[in-house]
Symmetry: C2
């Protein structure tokens, strides 16, 4: 089947809330589908209903969340599916664990300055976290450990969603994960 690889890959979008992880993932997903790949996208909103309804935001719960997602990503990626995961996933050790679990892990650091993330505050969560109304909020009272050597770094302070998605797609083309665009 055209465009079909034996193995898939996992694009792991990590970054602060408001960095644009899901926006870039959705844009990338659409383009990958247009090119005929099998694609699945996972994020908190998608998995919370079925997979992680019981989990909160303590370090232990965050890790359990990622472990369940990694299990799904592992099964999909080894069966030829392109998997796009967008999770804050603030802990380096947890992301490194996912890297070892799945087929062809691609760490995509969706980098944004905290100031810009607070300025956007799409979901109104930073305001609440800064007011102390919610706890364990990454970037406010919970740490974010940036990737040391990500496959791809996006700078969403200065890039549009289209530009960021374009960087991801070009990287995938260069690494021969996907065929070049027409």
């Amino acid at each position: 089947m055209s465009g079909e690889r034996k193995e898939g890959f996992v694009l792991w979008f990590t970054g602060l809330s408001g960095a644009g992880k899901t926006a870039v993932a959705v844009h990338t997903e659409q383009e990958l589908k247009r090119r005929g790949l099998r694609v699945e996208r996972l994020d908190g909103d998608i998995v919370r209903k079925s997979l992680t309804a019981d989990l909160g935001f303590t370090r232990e719960d965050r890790d359990t969340n990622i472990q369940r997602v990694a299990f799904v990503a592992k099964l999909l990626s080894r069966n030829g599916v392109a998997v796009l995961c967008s999770f804050i996933s603030p802990y380096r050790a947890t992301r490194d664990w996912v890297r070892q679990e799945v087929t062809n892990f691609v760490e995509v650091f969706v980098d944004v300055s905290l100031d810009e993330a607070i300025r956007r505050d799409v979901k109104g969560l930073y305001r609440k976290a800064l007011a102390g109304e919610i706890r364990n909020f990454t970037g406010v009272d919970d740490p974010y450990e940036p990737p040391l050597n990500p496959e791809i770094r996006l700078d969403t302070d200065h890039e549009t969603v289209e530009e960021s998605a374009g960087k991801v797609l070009r990287w995938l083309e260069q690494q021969d994960f996907i065929p070049p665009s027409m």
Copy 2:
């Protein structure tokens, strides 16, 4: 790619503990792989580590267990994977819910008499359940609701594992889910 279908299917092996669900699933899995299909097998031992470590055997926990498994089976089956799930899954309503969730649900009723399951007692669990040492044990102090209209019924009181797996494979061939054997 030869032997590749656009959509996968989900073989859902349901039945009492000791019925032979996993034995038949393993045998079927090997043959499907031999024929070049993409295959994933899920059972309690496989998912407990990553997906359902927090769950016990109350009705609510059993249903949550199946919901998480169904989520995984849904994503795999719609991406062309043959998924083999063996879970007691004692409740009819839960199985009917899975049927609606996944692509090409095939209910395989692994039927065994309770007497025979107790006689086998591979894991020593019936003895403990009958002695009151463990609770909520299907067939002893928790109900098993047999399928009313399963796609496939296996009679493991009277069939070998090979015969049962053969019935599953023939059904899949007849329904054009897999190409005929050479």
